[in-house]
Symmetry: C2
Subunit: 415 residues, 2 copies
Amino acid sequence: MTISSPYSMLSVEDALDITLEQTRLPGAVRRPLSKVRGAILAADIAAKEPLPPFPASTMDGYAVVAADGTGDYPMVGEVSAGALADFSVQPGTVAYITTGAPLPGGADAVVMIEETEKLQQGNGVPTIRINQNVAPGTNVRPIGVDVEAGQTVLAAGERLDPAEIGILATAGIVDVPVYPRPKVAVLSTGDELVDPAQKPGPGQIRDSNRAMLLAAIRAAGGDPIDLGISGDTQEALERRVRQGLAEADILLTSGGVSMGDLDLVKPLLEHAGTVHYGRVRMKPGKPVTFATADLEEGRRLVFGLPGNPVSSLVTFYLFVVPALRKMAGWPDPALRVVQARLAQPLPLDAYRPEYHRATLSWDGRRHCFLAASTGIQASSRLLSMRTANALLALPQREGVMAAGETVDALLIGEL
Amino acid sequence: MTISSPYSMLSVEDALDITLEQTRLPGAVRRPLSKVRGAILAADIAAKEPLPPFPASTMDGYAVVAADGTGDYPMVGEVSAGALADFSVQPGTVAYITTGAPLPGGADAVVMIEETEKLQQGNGVPTIRINQNVAPGTNVRPIGVDVEAGQTVLAAGERLDPAEIGILATAGIVDVPVYPRPKVAVLSTGDELVDPAQKPGPGQIRDSNRAMLLAAIRAAGGDPIDLGISGDTQEALERRVRQGLAEADILLTSGGVSMGDLDLVKPLLEHAGTVHYGRVRMKPGKPVTFATADLEEGRRLVFGLPGNPVSSLVTFYLFVVPALRKMAGWPDPALRVVQARLAQPLPLDAYRPEYHRATLSWDGRRHCFLAASTGIQASSRLLSMRTANALLALPQREGVMAAGETVDALLIGEL
């Protein structure tokens, strides 16, 4: 897609397409098993050995020859998990066996201990009473029943959650091929900002966006880098932006992308690389800016996020999260969308699609999602993001959506 | 609830009730803002100052006296974000102002820059043409419009996600009262187990459960401690269990809770504390065991999880996750439940409720969740947890649930 001017107004969909087109998948790396939770697998994983690697008992009990049936039999040995038996079970004999232990040669089934009795011992060899007839194979997991040798147990592109990590451990993969966690740097800009630990002076406010974005980066699977606050001078900004581009795959600036002549971020990005868009038809978040810079170390993505905290976080979810996910190897990096019923009527905007912050809950009676607005949607009112786990994609048009109407909801948090 | 014997068979609901009744909420701690993502707030947070703390411009433009209306006015000064103006705006004059800057005294509205023109300057004082009539208050955020001084901005019991962290930063709370992350230790038991990095010898298998449970603890918001693998001797086990109780709030053992006489975990737990249950009517996971030990350092929870990897992870989600969440301060620690339509028919178990592993996806056409089974549900087959994000709570009864029927789904992963 080519656009005539980076500052013509794009739709959210076009802006997202451009963002993802410009995002490059990095090379795969190897990471230890204990560090890959949430990462995307970069190669198929095949099992080297079958599982179980031997016929294994699923019960504590007695290994038997199934054809023997019920009766009293001498116990010729014991086999517990972790070792092979040094004896075999002949017809007319049994052996004690524990869960997970390899079935001794000759035996073809296991009778669970609850269906047996241990009788008095004659000269050291106990006699076992078997009270149940079993078919061959009963209570035995044959070789390879869970995993065959050579079977692909995980595929490239899968996300490594706890079960997949267990599967890697089973396959003996402790050095795991994954896409690296993207490094994302955050720089707050604005002479009015002070660190949250400081008391603001006259005309100042605390910088809420940086702590918020650093947390959001972590939640999205990125590796955050804190570049602090930069005052509104070209030199201060340039130094920090250069640092961000050197250290991170993605640089986020917060503030300084509106239309005034003290907004230095856009000119700086034009200087450092290519600005792909600088205005998007959306509410909130219109001034969001996206640029790329091709360094020797690779392509960097730069997002100039608006300074209003809500605009900053909404544009983070809509543009940065999909880019971060694509860079982390997600085959489908888009935010998940569900449909939800409005709990209350919502006014629409005639000029821009609105991303209304809402708390989705599941209605267990009607089997649908219910979306409750978080209240006044001013872009400076961060309380409108409190408890929000979804952005309702309200269409651009006049009027009101009625309570009970269905709307697309983009998931940004847990249910 | 009192039970006659810890080894009588409980329902999942009763076992969960007992687990949560025995779980104690720890004392609150203070943690730095950068470390509290996902934690539960332990106290209400009130704003000390209003936000904005001064009337603030929402635009780059000119601060005006609204009653002046359109016309050409001398510009008497400039005010940018971060400082108060050292002049005031008299009727018939205007001042340049940037987004977020404090409105100078005398002015009561802002005209956005797009609705103005800068005319040629006469002896150093520029003249500004104002092309728009505005009402008092236009493009100005009054003091306290987003947050009033003293307003409760976050309540005890809320989960700290990125927006809430931004709200804490705004309120200047950098030392945050939260409940601590529970420490959860994992011990694998069984002579047959080798570390995933090792090649199993005859009769041996790799230990998949420990890596899996450590990842699941982290995903659930706990702080994992790896106690390694213990062989099946009373001394080895006792030493590791004592270590786990000393270091962790919750101790998980994996394996060794079945009925055979080499299963040492249950007797050990009876010795160390109180066993509350040791058999639960569920498939998989029946032998799951729960005990508490009251040490000088506080109450410890101990879960003896079954050795089969699926049983281990399913009982982790059903019992350990709610306990961990309660200990972490969650007001509602239960797994989230949604209803889903079955994508295929599923056989039921006549003797036990079954927790069938499934992948939920959202059906954007029918506006409901669709549940696809992960295949053969053997408790040793960890591949049945691959990509599973839900446990379907299948009722205990004979027969089959048909495709298209609705079933409760417990969420265990992301959608």
